[in-house]
């Protein structure tokens, strides 16, 4: 027994040991005093010494002394077999025109057994069987990460990994610390090192992480015996990759797109490269390929002229003998947004409502604001000739007959149109909204009923009914109170959490001026109620055709900003509310009632599922909606899908069977009765989309495998053109030489679990008892 390996991994804590020791020492002292009264000093000392020794041993064992026992045992060493299942292993330059992966699987498992009558013949033995005879084999497949495989799973393994990271898989296996493999009886623990003794790596050397090969920490890896698949000599491929393009583009603003063209196995080619937009060629250019291999940057410029989701692609024709076709095309999804949100505000008079609204709108650099404020009425006398005033004549014809369509939002802020122009111009505003414009109206002494809008074309737009009489009143405490619709609506939902949202609205300071109106009929949503008891409408929203209308029935909303500042908060909630109002009015896709959720998810039996959110005007799930989904595949084929509502998720689902990996363009339109709820367009990615990192460079990279094996003390073997039996022997020989066949077993042994220790603990009191009897003590 090696006493130098004694250690204390755990026992009774010191605050138990020290008092126990003191208590026993005191007991011993008293005991000796009693013994001295009845025995000679020598005998008393002998008995005290025996008891003291027993106490000392008890305290010692309580402290948990443990011995480490190391022993070498001849167990089968652990061998990690890693099989590359990434997409590049699907390239058909393996033996007999098969894929690299098929060759690797066959190498491990042997040829798949031919269909034979029962009992006739037997499955051939592959390398894996032989490895199982000598090693504790752990079989794993890897792409971006490693997962354990059974033999059956290996046979069915498909090269569909979207990324390759062999080093991560090796690291996670080889750096695994020792773990308790079993716990022995009577406190003895058995530790076995779980780190593999060796690694057999079957790969083409593909790595999509951009890591350096061999890595700096390769010295800490177990020996890696690598087998390289693919054929570097005969490899021929043209690939488009490394896209540099913005994810978001702006309407009518040119964007620059850059892709890299890599060519292997060809030289002296003149390659046409095209930029296409949903199948239609937009630009072309011809590239001269010099050298082999060659890489060249290609640049396109493109100006999107429509807002929405756009799928561009760069493609080049497949050449004769090319091994991978799918990487001749790379897709570039673009989200095209408006360059600016142009807002026209017309204010009946200078006001704090306008001042604070303008400041909030001006915070957003994407907003282009054009304002007209009526600084005087016909009754006001400026006292100087017009030439000494800065007043601009109101360009009513130009604004309402020509320019209206150029604004995303038109704002009437405490503005009474009847003082300045006829209903003819208001009819133009109504048309503008029906065709998709947005109308935002604030209250005031010259708005709603007080502004003479009752029975005007404007009233037909509004989400409220107004009275012909003046409706502008003072309110003692008109606090915003959310309605049920308001709690969900993107205009008034200031926080995704309903409780926080309600709390935020409760913190808005009360307003002191309101226009009292009645709530109107169906299709119009009341978002917040003001006035004492929350009886008056404060914010109302409505969709009319493609247009959106928002009514704010007060010109006192500046108090929401300034009141919050007074309470030593910022005016963040006010600016957020204004921003959300602007976004909803401008038809921002994030506030759309119809949304296609990103990326189709794989379902059962090879189907994929596209999920669609369809909401009613009050932003409840519109379960009764008719949802039309059309899907255009990689080749331009369009199919119409049925969408079903799922009550558990509140979403619609449309199932489709993809014709291949890549991007699909989905278009959805939803109707509820006669009401158009909205539409959405989105590019859905199936299996990661074309031009993914895995397909950037699928050439066999044996140099990486060679470097790794050399640095870890392993061996590299090439599979291409090699006789399988010879290769198998090479692998077995390499493993034989590199992977040790013995493992170290480490045991922790608690001292009290050793039998003779127990014997001593019994012996001491027995001796003491015997001596006491001999010396006449009871």
């Amino acid at each position: 027994m090696d006493w130098s390996s004694l250690h204390w991994p755990g026992g009774a804590p010191w605050w138990v040991l020290v008092p126990a020791a003191l208590l026993l020492a005191e007991s011993l002292r008293r005991r000796r005093r009693l013994l001295l009264e009845r025995l000679s000093a020598r005998r008393a000392n002998v008995l005290t010494a025996l008891r003291g020794l027993l106490y000392a041993l008890l305290v010692f064992f309580l402290s948990g002394p443990t011995l480490i026992q190391r022993s070498e045992r001849s167990l089968p060493p652990k061998l990690l077999v890693l099989v590359d299942g990434s997409g590049s292993m699907g390239v058909k330059d393996g033996a007999g025109g098969g894929t690299r992966l098929a060759q690797a699987v066959e190498f491990l498992l042997g040829k798949a057994p031919a269909r034979t009558r029962e009992g006739e013949g037997s499955a051939p033995q592959g390398l894996l069987d032989r490895l199982f005879q000598s090693y504790d084999v752990h079989l794993m497949g890897f792409g971006a990460s490693a997962t354990p495989l059974s033999r059956e799973a290996l046979r069915a393994l498909a090269a569909n990994g979207l990324a390759s990271d062999p080093l991560r898989s090796i690291r996670s296996a080889s750096r695994e610390p020792g773990s308790p493999a079993a716990r022995g009886s009577r406190g003895a623990s058995v530790f076995r090192e779980d780190r593999p003794a060796g690694i057999l790596l079957l790969s083409d050397g593909g790595d999509t992480t951009g890591s350096a090969w061999p890595p700096e920490d390769a010295g800490s890896f177990p020996p890696v015996v690598s087998v390289g698949f693919g054929d570097p000599v005969g490899f021929r491929d043209i690939s488009l990759h490394e896209v540099r393009a913005p994810r978001i583009a702006f309407q009518d603003k040119e964007v620059q797109l850059e892709v890299t063209l890599s060519v292997r196995g060809y030289s002296g080619l003149r390659l046409p490269v095209a930029l296409t937009r949903e199948g239609r060629v937009v630009r072309t250019q011809t590239v001269d390929v010099r050298g082999d291999p060659a890489a060249q940057k290609i640049e396109f410029r493109f100006t999107p002229n429509e807002v929405g989701s756009l799928l561009l692609s760069v493609e080049t024709p497949v050449q004769r003998g090319e091994l991978v076709e799918s990487n001749n095309r790379v897709e570039i999804p673009l989200e095209v947004r408006r360059d600016k949100i142009r807002i026209l505000t017309i204010s009946g008079a200078p006001s704090w409502n306008y001042s604070f609204l303008r400041a909030a709108l001006k915070r957003d650099p994407a907003i282009d604001l054009v304002s007209f404020v009526f600084l005087r009425t016909s009754e006001d006398d400026p006292g100087v000739p017009t030439q000494e005033l800065s007043l601009v004549p109101f360009p009513v014809d130009r604004l309402f007959l020509e320019e209206l369509k150029n604004f995303e939002i038109v704002v009437f802020d405490n503005f009474s149109a009847q003082e300045y122009f006829s209903n003819y111009y208001l009819e133009r505003v109504k048309d503008y909204v029906r065709k998709g414009g947005a109308f935002w109206i604030f209250g005031g002494r010259a708005s709603f009923g007080a502004g003479g809008y009752a029975r005007s074309p404007i009233e037909e737009l509004l989400p409220v009914r107004i009275s012909p009489a003046s409706d502008y009143v003072a309110a003692a405490r008109a606090a915003g109170q959310l309605t049920d619709s308001g709690a969900r609506h993107p205009v008034t939902r200031l926080s995704p959490d309903p409780e926080t949202n309600a709390r935020m609205w409760a913190s808005f300071p009360p307003l002191r001026r309101l226009n009292l109106t009645a709530r109107s009929e169906e299709g119009q949503t009341l978002l917040a109620a003001g006035g004492e008891g929350g009886g008056a409408a404060l914010i109302g929203a409505r969709r009319l055709g493609e247009g959106r209308i928002l009514s704010v029935l007060s010109d006192d909303t500046w108090r929401w900003s300034f009141g919050m500042v007074a309470a030593e908060k910022s005016n963040q909630l006010y600016t957020q509310l204004v921003a959300q109002m602007t976004r909803w009015l401008s038809g921002d896709p994030t506030s759309s009632q119809v949304q296609i959720l990103p990326d189709a998810e794989p379902g059962k039996e090879g189907f994929y599922v596209a999920r669609i959110q369809v909401l009613d005007d009050d932003y409840r799930p519109a379960h009764g909606a008719a949802v039309r989904v059309s899907l255009r595949d990689l080749y331009g084929n369009v199919q119409t899908l049925a969408a079903e509502f799922r009550a558990d998720t509140g979403e619609f689902e449309a199932r489709f069977r993809p014709s291949g990996r890549g991007s699909y363009r989905a278009e959805v339109a939803a109707m509820l009765g006669q009401r158009h709820l909205g539409q959405a367009v989105r590019t859905l990615s199936v299996g990661g989309g074309a031009g993914g990192a895995e397909w950037t460079d699928v050439s066999p990279r044996w140099d990486r495998l060679q470097g790794l094996s050399a640095k870890t003390g392993g061996v590299f073997l090439r599979a291409a053109g090699e006789d399988p039996q010879k290769l198998e022997k090479g692998v077995l020989d390499a493993l034989q030489g590199k992977v040790p066949s013995k493992i170290l077993e480490v045991r922790d042994v608690r001292l009290w679990s050793i039998p003779w220790v127990g014997f001593v603990l019994i012996l001491l009191p027995a001796c003491e008892w015997t001596l006491r009897r001999l010396w006449g003590l009871a």
Binding site: S347, G348, A349, P350, S351, W352, Y354, S355, F356, R358, A359, K362, L369, V370, S371, V373, F374, L375, R376, T377, D380, D381, P382, G383, V384, Q387, E388, L389, S390, L391, V392, R445, Y472, V473, A474, A476, R512, R513, D556, W558, S561, F562, G563, V565, A566, A567, E568, S570, N571
Partner: protein, 271 residues
Amino acid sequence: MKRFPEPALGRRAFLRWTAGLAAGSVIGAPWRSWAQRAAPDEPAGALPPELAPGHIRYAGGRWQEYPTALSSMLDEVRKRTSIEPASEAQTVDLSSDQIFEHPFLYLSGRYEFEMPSAPEIERLRRHLTYGGFLLVDDGLGSNEDGFGRVVRSLIERLFPRQPLEPLSREHPVFRSYYLIRSVGGRQAVSQEIEGVQMGIFTPVVFCRNDLGGAWAVRPDGGWVEECTPGGEPQRRSAFQLGVNIALYAMTGNYKQDLIHHPFIQRRLNQS
């Protein structure tokens, strides 16, 4: 004293004056004091006025040199523009959150006063940072002494990184309503107006020509002070500047929008 005819003879002023006389004959008090009792804090159920300046009261010095100055200016605003102002300003203290009821603040005086406390300065800073406006009216006009010295020190503490600087003649204060060429006031100390610029807005405007002195009226309708050396044209400029400043505070720099700018420039060139 030569009268600037507009303040006393406008339609609304005339009606108020007539009503004031009638009321005065009944209760035996001057019309102005009637108006002061009737208008100030809006009675329950009355609509709060759009423009109700807060006149800052401070310790030391004299915070209200001309009690009628602001009401006279508000009369002018009512008469000349579409704004519905209060009939007079409300007195506010920087120690109270009441200043947030009044986005437009007015600070005036001639003499040195006690520097507001740190919490008061912080409150004023928040007011001005989040959309409020302060018109500083120096009745003495000296940078080194009196009111002007303390105000400059106050503004330094308010905005250490945004100095008080002369506003260019392109600034909306000079063209938000009237196309102003000279800076009026009771005195003509400077033809410059200074301001603190924060982003696209100027929340502090500082005039050294004693605007309040030019605006103030006596109970009999006459002017409290003569305007020297320019006389009534100088007073007219003071009123025009007051109107412009009120409009600027409530509309910001919208006159600099692309659609307005060329028109204004053309008109300036013509005249």
